[in-house]
Every structure is written in structure tokens, then in C-alpha cells.
């Protein structure tokens, strides 16, 4: 993956979600004011992503499962994960 610009959040999509959205990765500016907050749920809405967050799509921040309302930090890697089917 490409290097991350300072103050940005890297957003990753996978599998069916990536194909529905038509992109795999993009960067987004972190919360501009020091006391404002940006969460995966807010980004999900801003990006008009398809499907149901929480019910179907899970959130990972820096490669760990996370709550969709966790405040994001500059430099974070955020991933939206469609239903898993491993094994």
C-alpha cells in the first residue's frame, strides 16, 4: 500500500464491499480541529458506502476489530470488513 500523508486516515475496503464501492483504498483528512472527533461511522456515511454497518460490516482500526464510534487519530488505518468467510 502507498505511504500515508501526515494527518490523514487510510481507509481500506475488501472483497464484495470493495467491488460495490468501486475503490480499494483512499485517504481522508483526520479531524481538522483538535477538539473535534471523526469516527468510522461518520466516515461510512460521508463515503456513502453500501450495506449495513454493525449488522454486516465490521470495523478494524490499525488491524484490530474496533467499535464504529471509536474516535480516529491521524495516521490510523481504518478498514471496513464485509461478512467474513474463512476456513
Amino acid at each position: 500500500m502507498a505511504g500515508l500523508s501526515a494527518g490523514k486516515i487510510r481507509i481500506l475496503l475488501f472483497a464484495g464491499l470493495r467491488e460495490q464501492a468501486g475503490w480499494a483504498e483512499q485517504q481522508w483528512p483526520a479531524a481538522p480541529q483538535p477538539d473535534s472527533v471523526l469516527t468510522p461511522r461518520q466516515l461510512w456515511l460521508k463515503l456513502h458506502l453500501p450495506g449495513a454497518l454493525d449488522q454486516q460490516v465490521r470495523v478494524a482500526i490499525n488491524q484490530q476489530f474496533a467499535d464504529a464510534d471509536t474516535p480516529l487519530q491521524p495516521g490510523d488505518e481504518l478498514a471496513f470488513l464485509p461478512p467474513i468467510s474463512g476456513g
Binding site: 481500506l12 475488501f14 472483497a15 464484495g16 467491488e19 454486516q56 478494524a60 488491524q63 484490530q64 476489530f65 478498514a79 470488513l81 464485509p82 461478512p83 467474513i84 468467510s85 474463512g86 476456513g87
Partner: protein, 150 residues
């Protein structure tokens, strides 16, 4: 606890991998476990809709997959107090008959070995970031939205 996790981008033979694992443990001076519970999952030759399957494509989240597999394995193994754990998982294009997953648990008793093997398999099926896309023989494909039922 001895733990080994590998992702394979090409076909792996479960029995060969198990033999290497056995040799590796022996090399470390670790006695063979009194109880070993194993599971091998392979690609079916039919798609979820009943048509013929050409191949399964396994996408994953590089980095997170390895971390998650390790966390799931360590948690499960500690909970059951087992002594060794081998997890092998395919990524990429897998054709019918090929192995997708191998879990091998060694323990001092059959109960912990069996329970750990079963639970770890369920855990990785539901909590490791893998996604399967079925490629049918007619050229069409579809992402699966979950696992086959138990």
C-alpha cells in the same frame, strides 16, 4: 506452547505439513502429545447455489489476518491449556479438492485437544479477515456472505 501459523498462496498437502511439524517439534525436544485433534477443510466441487465450482478465490487483509490468527490461536490454546497448535490457511485461487485450512492441536488429554481444535476452527472462520469468492464453471462469480453451516 508451540504455535505455528502459515498462509499458503499455493497448494499445501496437509499430511506433508503435519510431518514437517512433527519433525520440528521433535527437533525442539518436545515429546509427542498424548492427544492430537486435527481438522482439514477442502474446497467442495459445487458452489453454494448447487452449480459446478471452478475455483474458490480467497482474499484476505494482509497484516491483520496474521495478527488475528495469532490472537485467536493464543487465546484458544491458553483457555484450553493445550501444548501445540498448527494453523495452515490458503489464500488466493484454490481449486476443488485442495485444502483450505488445517488445524492441528496437541494436548495432554483428548477433551482439551478436541474442544480447542473445534473452537479455533470456528473462531478463524468468523473472526479472521478472509473472504471467499466462488468462481463457477460458467464464468460467473459471487462473494460469499458467510460460512457454510456447522
Amino acid at each position: 506452547m508451540q504455535l505455528r501459523i502459515d498462509l499458503h498462496s499455493t497448494c499445501f498437502e496437509p499430511l506433508e505439513v503435519l510431518e514437517r511439524w512433527q519433525t520440528e517439534l521433535k527437533g525442539l525436544g518436545i515429546a509427542e502429545s498424548a492427544a492430537e485433534s486435527l481438522f482439514v477443510g477442502r474446497v467442495r466441487d459445487t458452489a453454494a447455489d448447487g452449480t459446478l465450482l471452478e475455483a474458490l478465490e480467497l482474499e484476505h487483509y494482509p497484516g491483520m489476518t496474521e495478527q488475528q490468527l495469532e490472537q485467536l490461536a493464543v487465546n484458544c490454546c491458553n483457555r484450553h491449556g493445550v501444548s501445540s497448535c498448527l494453523v495452515q490457511h490458503r489464500i488466493g485461487r484454490v481449486i476443488p479438492g485442495e485444502a483450505i485450512v488445517l488445524v492441528a492441536i496437541g494436548a495432554n488429554r483428548r477433551g482439551p485437544a478436541q474442544r480447542c481444535c473445534q473452537e479455533l476452527l470456528e473462531a478463524l472462520k468468523h473472526h479472521a479477515p478472509f473472504w471467499k469468492r466462488e468462481w463457477r464453471t460458467d464464468g460467473s462469480s459471487e462473494w460469499l456472505s458467510g460460512n457454510t453451516p456447522l
